[in-house]
């Protein structure tokens, strides 16, 4: 399909048939059709920008993250295999770009996975038992604050652990799909996922147990 000149307009694009549009746009981008890329931007930019703003809470930073996400997506689009929806794939790339920007702007340090795992004594009992997590309120402001803590925690994970969380817990691929996407064995995915979740739990613990406000 050849895209018309009107696709260059900077207005939202909402296709009548998203499945057909996705296939046509992907084919267009892969053969270097500028108009196809423009349509992709006009179709998905709003959702990607909204996600980046939710994570970064700053318009300028969110714009930079969205731009970075499109650059990453363009470079990786040859590897997009259609296993998930294009919008879901773009969402993951955007979350990742925004989290990396968050890590930089908030100067968050990457944690050591070993340091964030539960500690046990010689008899197998936990040495670091703290208070139980409080019930989470449905209040919107608190939910936003809680989401901010989660974003910061994910941003502190080492790349290989963050990737697994992104694919398994956010994109919700299964273990085998994640293993294939990352080029590692299924057993390694399971181990990394468990350790990443334990690390996130540990990072969120002071806030969720009400011991600290961060």
């Amino acid at each position: 399909m050849a895209f018309s000149v009107s696709s260059m307009e900077m207005v939202p694009y909402i296709p009548d048939d998203p499945v057909a549009a996705e296939a046509e746009i992907l084919a267009g981008i892969r053969r270097g059709d500028d108009a196809a890329f423009n349509l992709l931007v006009r179709w998905h930019c709003g959702r990607m920008y909204a996600v980046a703003k939710r994570i970064l809470r700053d318009d300028a930073e969110a714009q930079d993250a969205t731009q970075e996400a499109f650059t990453m997506a363009y470079k990786a689009i040859a590897r997009f295999d259609g296993r998930s929806k294009l919008s879901t794939w773009l969402h993951r790339i955007t979350v990742n770009a925004a989290l990396m920007r968050l890590r930089k702007t908030k100067r968050l340090r990457e944690v050591s996975i070993e340091d964030t795992q539960p500690k046990f004594d010689d008899t197998g009992h936990r040495r670091d038992v703290g208070p139980a997590w409080k019930q989470t309120a449905q209040d919107e402001a608190l939910a936003t604050e809680r989401a901010g803590k989660v974003h910061e925690a994910i941003a502190q994970l080492p790349d290989s652990y963050r990737e697994v969380i992104m694919l398994r817990d956010i994109q919700q691929l299964d273990t085998d799909q994640t293993a294939e996407a990352l080029g590692i064995k299924s057993g390694a995915v399971k181990t990394r996922l468990h350790r990443a979740r334990l690390a996130l739990r540990e990072l969120l613990d002071p806030y969720m147990a009400g011991e600290a406000t961060w």
């Binding site: 969205t66 363009y74 989660v150 969120l204």
Partner: protein, 87 residues
């Protein structure tokens, strides 16, 4: 009976429902007697739930209406600049 360490190592499979009946029985016997592990499991579940919630995809309906027009043009222009030369 399994220890807290074994219980936590086993947690991922337990939550995924990927355990044998015998292992499940051992696990649940431990939980019945260990409030800290029960709390830990709840916090582990909550971690997964909060992660999904914090990073969920927005509605399909979200369009470009709130996007600064300069952002769309900046993305398109930067792509042209970044484009690798044909091999």
């Amino acid at each position: 009976m399994i220890t807290c360490k074994e219980c936590i190592e086993f947690l991922d499979d337990y939550i995924a429902g990927d355990v044998s009946p015998a292992a499940l029985e051992n696990f649940e016997k431990h939980l019945a007697l260990c409030p800290p592990c029960r709390d830990f499991i709840e916090s582990y579940r909550k971690t997964i739930e909060e992660t999904r919630c914090a990073c969920s995809e927005p509605d399909e309906q979200v369009g470009c209406d709130d996007v600064p027009p300069t952002l769309i043009s900046a993305i398109i222009e930067s792509r042209k600049l970044d484009r690798e030369p044909d091999a």
